[in-house]
């Protein structure tokens, strides 16, 4: 049955970016406030699921031409690499370093290597969630 869902598709295009920006906000807030890589990744995959609902699997595959299984391995590489990188400086595994920098636009900012670990968690969560949804969610 052909249905006319032009309103839903137009709204989904706008709301997608709202959810993505909120996910980025949650990801960066994660060090001092509620949030972090896991919630950010789940919300990002929620935004992609909204596009999957509004359009179809073929269109979304053309929009995101990545195999989501590669994101899992990339994220694991980030996380394990950040954790193992501390061994190079003769400190225990998983030790994270931070320092304060004077950035041009943000002023005094504290940059942590824990954020790279969180980026790995973010990518792994997106990869796992989207792989599960693409595998079992599609109706043939």
């Amino acid at each position: 049955m052909k249905t006319n869902d032009v309103i839903f598709q137009t709204v989904a295009k706008v709301v997608f970016f709202m959810i993505i920006f909120f996910a980025v906000h949650l990801f960066f807030a994660g060090h001092y406030y509620p949030g972090g890589g896991f919630v950010g990744g789940l919300l990002t995959s929620g935004a992609i699921v909204l596009l999957l609902l509004a359009y179809d699997m073929k269109t979304v595959r053309r929009g995101f031409p990545v195999d989501f299984k590669w994101l899992i391995s990339l994220g694991l590489l980030f996380s394990v690499g950040t954790a193992a990188g501390s061994l190079m400086f003769n400190v225990p595994f998983f030790t994270h370093a931070y320092d304060y920098f004077q950035l041009p636009l943000f002023g005094k900012t504290s940059l942590h290597t824990a954020m790279l670990f969180d980026l790995g968690v973010y990518l792994v969560v997106i990869g796992v969630t989207m792989t599960i949804i693409q595998t079992i969610g599609e109706s043939e």
Partner: protein, 94 residues
């Protein structure tokens, strides 16, 4: 004073949640259950807001937005399932 009002409203929201759970289990048709689930999402947002006022913290406000977005996606998925019978299509032009 305001604390008593918030506690009473929390109690009333919990009672409303019980009514929604009853409709979710008993509901004769699928649309009844879908509407009950959607209203449960809205109710959860209200409970979180009242709780954040009661505890005097603003850290719950992000979570309200999160619940709202997830409830929206869930409602959209249920609506599409009721209309088309499938949630994610492979090719919508066929």
């Amino acid at each position: 004073m305001i604390e008593t009002v918030l506690q009473i409203s929390l109690l009333l929201l919990a009672i409303a949640m019980i009514g929604l759970i009853y409709r979710l289990i008993k509901g004769p048709t699928v649309p009844d259950r879908v509407v009950a689930l959607d209203a449960m999402g809205v109710n959860l947002v209200s409970i979180t807001a009242v709780l954040s006022m009661l505890l005097g913290t603003s850290n719950y406000l992000d979570i309200i937005l999160l619940i709202g977005i997830l409830a929206f996606i869930g409602t959209v998925a249920f609506a599409k399932f009721l209309e088309k019978g499938k949630v994610i299509e492979h090719d919508r032009d066929q």
